[in-house]
Amino acid sequence: MKVNDCMKHKVFSIPSSATIREAAEVFVARHIGLLPVVDEDGKLAGVVGLRDLLTLELPDFVNLVPDVDFVHDFGAVETTRPSRKELGQPVTVLMREAVSVVEECGLLRAYALMLQHDVHDLPVTSADGRLVGVASRVDIGTAILSYWKSLEPMKK
């Protein structure tokens, strides 16, 4: 089995000209964790994750403190919203380089890439770089486990 056998073929993406606000709307409407960004030719330009958008709400300062367990009430942080100006910026300011695979990629290679780069969704491209699908950890992991069906159970 290859990645294109288990991936989602219906894939949501945004053009690189979109704003952060527009990207956020897609995340909310589709309830997804990763949004591929494509250029005019439909080629994968990068990705924005839910995590990247959320840094506008909760900047990186939390990671500076060794642990925040002792803070029981985040106070004003809970109600601080990004400014209109920040949301109007092009989505490319938050875009990251995509960790992606081609359709023909083997499942275990794809899974290893996800572990190594700590990502939960992999955009899948055709050989010429066009976005053709997205495979999640669940898609790939369950596809791998489905091999086990064909293994005979051990006799008691």
Partner: protein, 428 residues
């Protein structure tokens, strides 16, 4: 040996320029400069490897390493976090009170610990408290950097230039408390009042959520009270020994390293992790600078400078001292104050050999190097640290902002220090 002097001055000046322009990491610059100067010295016969080794001030290194080990043990216990959280609670979320309390805690800590370490540990919790309150982090972060630079001047172990000056001039811990601390107390108050004025608009804003800060529990922020207690006991004992080190005829570095050894034996930490917390790049930077400046001295380049300054020392000595404060402060604002101090030490010693009364000049050097670092965003490592931490918040500190807030503080502190210096000159 004019060629040797010119070439080694050139190596030193290019190194300073590389550090200033941030074209090359300062430790890499210093290592390369040291290697070049030793090579040149061997080639032209003015500087040998043995002399290079002798140029390293192991007293300074030992003191820095010992204190770094103590901090490395204290850091993971959450003690600093606990202190910052406590100030947040005591301030009850009132901006001016928070500024004064955080500023005071940072100053007191930086009198006994390295400024950079203090900032690295206090600033993150400051950002957290400001975020919880819903106020801008900028006044607090800038104040912490400036006040820790200022407070560090007060003691022998407060900042690296003082360690260097104390080691070369033979000043004791008490000398610093007698001559430097009173000046710093006044200068510190000037800095704090000026900061209060410069940030009057930000500090007048009411925090959006003062209640959440009152719910913070400092005890919970302290992860490992047992280790914290042990290290603090050792640190306290070390400070007591600093007070009496010259009566006992032991060096500050021996005190610091013995304290580190005692704390290590008592705590028995994971040594690998503890050593990872030591700022080796700082220690290597110092060694390389000692070697470089040793070569510069051996080449005779500094003798020229001594000659020029000897002429200038003909002016009234008070005026000369004040001039030293301002020149050193100006240099420290644009370049790291450590290379400036290391390079000026042999110059002052040279003036001493010519019969100039140099005791007041040592203090002028300490004040200039300490307060000058406040002037620019790159003036001291503490400044660089708060700026890079602020980049992870909603309101990053820009160089332009620093010039509007930090530079006036530098000018005011240097002016205050100059006035006190002139008034107290007969006492030095």
């Amino acid at each position: 040996m004019i060629l040797a002097a010119i070439l080694s001055s050139l190596i030193f000046l290019v190194s300073l320029w590389l550090i200033f322009s941030e074209k090359l990491n300062r430790t890499i610059t210093a290592i390369a400069g040291a290697a070049l100067i030793v090579g040149l010295g061997k080639l032209l016969g003015f500087y040998s490897e043995a002399e290079a080794l002798a140029a390293v001030d192991f007293n300074t290194l030992g003191l820095l390493l010992g204190m770094m080990i103590l901090v490395a043990l204290l850091e993971p216990t959450g003690f600093f976090q606990c202190l910052a959280v406590w100030t947040g609670r005591v301030s009850q979320g009132r901006p001016v009170r928070l500024l004064v309390l955080l500023g005071t805690v940072t100053t007191v800590l930086s009198m006994f610990l390295d400024n950079v370490t203090t900032i690295v540990l206090i600033a993150p919790v400051t950002i957290l408290i400001c975020e919880i309150l819903g106020v801008s982090t900028i006044p607090y972060l800038i104040a912490e950097a400036l006040l820790s630079n200022t407070g560090g001047v007060a003691t022998l172990i407060g900042d690296p230039p003082n360690v260097l000056i104390g080691s070369s001039a033979g000043f004791s811990f008490i000398d610093f408390l007698v001559y430097s601390l009173p000046v710093v107390v006044v200068v510190w108050l000037v800095a704090l009042l000026l900061l209060r004025y410069l940030f009057r608009r930000e500090l007048a804003m009411r925090p959006r959520n003062a209640k959440a800060v009152k719910r913070l529990n400092p005890a919970e922020a302290l992860n490992d009270p047992k280790t914290a207690r042990r290290v603090l006991i050792v640190l306290g004992a070390a400070i007591l020994f600093f007070f009496v080190h010259h009566f006992l005829h032991i060096s500050p570095s021996f005190v610091a390293l013995s304290a580190a050894a005692l704390a290590l034996v008592w705590v028995r930490p994971d040594m690998k992790k503890t050593l990872e917390r030591i700022e080796w790049s700082v220690l290597v930077f110092f060694v390389a600078l000692f070697v470089m400046v040793g070569g510069l001295e051996a080449s005779g380049a500094l003798t020229w400078l001594v000659g020029i300054l000897e002429g200038a020392a003909g002016m009234p000595p008070v005026l000369f001292g004040v001039l030293v404060i301002w020149v050193v402060a100006g240099l420290s604002a644009v370049v790291d104050n450590v290379p400036i101090t290391i390079a000026l030490i042999p110059v002052i010693q040279g003036l001493g050999a010519k019969g100039v009364n140099i005791t007041p000049l040592w203090w002028a050097l300490a004040f200039g190097a300490g307060f000058g670092g406040n002037g620019t965003i790159i003036g001291s490592t503490a400044n660089i640290v708060v700026v890079s931490l602020s980049e992870k918040t909603r309101t990053p500190i820009t160089a332009k902002l620093w010039n509007k807030r930090g530079l006036p503080v530098m000018l005011a502190t240097c002016a205050a220090a100059s006035i006190l210096y002139a008034l107290a000159y007969p006492l030095f």
